[in-house]
Structures are given as C-alpha cells and as structure tokens.
Symmetry: C2
Amino acid sequence: MIATDEHFFSENTDALRLYSIDQVAAQTGLTKRTLRYYEEVGLLPPTGRTEGNYRRYSDEDIHRLEHIKKLRDLLGFSLADIRAMLEVDDERGILKEAYQHETEAAARVAQLDRGDELIRRQLQIIEQKMAGLEQMRATLEANIERHERKRKLLLKNSL
Amino acid sequence: MIATDEHFFSENTDALRLYSIDQVAAQTGLTKRTLRYYEEVGLLPPTGRTEGNYRRYSDEDIHRLEHIKKLRDLLGFSLADIRAMLEVDDERGILKEAYQHETEAAARVAQLDRGDELIRRQLQIIEQKMAGLEQMRATLEANIERHERKRKLLLKNSL
DNA sequence: TATAACATTGACGTAAACGGTAATCTTGTT
DNA sequence: AACAAGATTACCGTTTACGTCAATGTTATA
C-alpha cells in the first residue's frame, strides 16, 4: 500500500515519480549517508515515506539536492551558507505562492520587487566570486601570452 | 641584530622588507594561528626568523598567502587541493629558474610548452567553476527578467 | 632592570561534514 | 515460510582547519 505517498503528493502538480535513496544517491552523486544527513540537519525537508518507513524522494527533492551540490562544489559554500541561500529560495517560493492568490496589482508588484531583491542578493555573491575567478584567469592567460611572445622571439633569433 | 635576516635574503632581488606575524595577519585577513598552521602543514615554506626566533615574512610570503586565501575563499578548495595547486606553481617557478640558465633555443621552447601545460590545467579548473557560476547567474537573471515582464503586464492591465 | 606586551612551541579542544557499525525492520525472491 | 538484500535509527569515530590555553622566551619601554 502506498496510500501514504498518495496522500503526501496528491496535490502536487509535478510528475509524482518517486525514487529510492539508492537511486537518488546514484543520480546526485551524493552518498546515502549524506542524503540522510542533509535531511537530518534540515537542508532537505523530510521526504515522503513508504508504509514501511522507507524514504521516497520526489523530483523536487532531487532538484533541491542537485542545487545543494552545486552550491557546495561550485561555490565552496558551507552547509550553513547553503542553508541561508535555500531559505532565500524558500521565501521566494512562498512569495510566489502568495503572488498567485493576490489580486491587487500594487501588491503583486511589491511582491515582484521583494523577489528581485532576494535574487539580486544572490547575484551579488555569485558575481563577486566570478570577478575573483576572472582575475585569476586573466593572470594565467597573461602568462601564456608572455610565453607566446618568448617563443616567437626565440624563433626569430634562431634564424 | 638582524644578521640572520640579511643572510636569508641577501641574494633576493625583491624589496627585502620584512613583516611581523601581526602585520601579515592584518594585511592578509588570516589569523596568526592560521599563518603558523599553514607553515606547519607546508603550505607556506618556513619563513625567515629573527635572532630571537620570531617569524619574519617577506613580500613573497605575503603574496603566496594571499594566493592561498583566494584559492580557499574563491574556489572553495580544501588545503589539500591548494597544496596541489601550489605544487604546480612551484614547479613553474623551478621551470622558470631552469629556463634562465638554459641556452639552447629548442630546450627553452620545450620548457615554455611545459609551463603552458601546467597553466592550462589550472585554467581548466577555473573555467569549469566559472561556467557553473555563469549558469547560476543566468538562471537568476532570467527570473529577474521574468519579473520584469510580469510587472509590465500588470501595469498595462491596470490602465 | 623590571614589567608589560609581544612571540614561540606543544598540547588539547572543537565545529563541520560526513563515515562506519550495530541492532532492528522491510521487502523481493526462492 | 525463509532468506538475502537493503532500509532505518542510534551512536560512536574521523578528518579538516583551525581555536585556545599554558609554559616559556623575547623585546620595547618606563
């Protein structure tokens, strides 16, 4: 019986495919231990469960986990940082919910503005990192170009 | 007496200004403990010392420490990763040394090639990170633009 | 020269982010 | 029905990257 699952996701518009912890581990590249850990520390909201108390992950769960992994590996964020980022995302989600039900135009615009503010805050962090990386990249490329010039010089002199 | 320092750096072409651990901590934003730790684990080669066994940091040391910090904060690298990167840099340094003393053009070109190879390897890592960041950035900006369109729509409908 | 304010090296402590194991269920298969 | 395979929680262990003393030595200054 999977009535439990149906209950949890019956009002979800997503494709309600569910995955075992093994499948999710394989797809995300995270270990099963890590999946349980992220749930334990609240990075991932409690997943659905089968009647036998086995975890069942939704597509949304997987998406969130992949996002977490990106933040961890790409940005080198700590789980605390990631939690903060996700809370922003979650607020955006709530905002979006509210947006749907809001009828007044002015209030809708205000909610869009608030969403933008949250997004821009994240953009700033990312752009800051990118600027630093860009500088490192420029330095390295300058070295390659310097080598290029030296090579040409050597070639000219050897003629 | 600072004969020790003079001995250590007498053949260094750099400005041989030396800094106390406090000064370096202030300038790099690393704690004194971290400075000692990085030296202890070999990320920073042993610094010069005063007669009284106090550490004296050179400009080169500071430069290396700032580089380490960038790798740590920007790329989110572990100290193990950073050690690997620095070893590449160090090999480049050695290569450069050898280059100076090499007289044969062919050998010089070969060394430039080897240097390029090392640099490109680092470039690849950086570009990979940047690509990931760029993607996140694009996603966020797409959301802002989506909001922009919605705002315009609301404005039009409210007239 | 005495004292305060710095430094040094152990040594132990700690928060973060999991890894690994034990005891106990659950489930697909024979 | 029985058994192997895999899941769950609980709990202890580990690594990384430092923080925090304590005991001791050094140095600038009154």
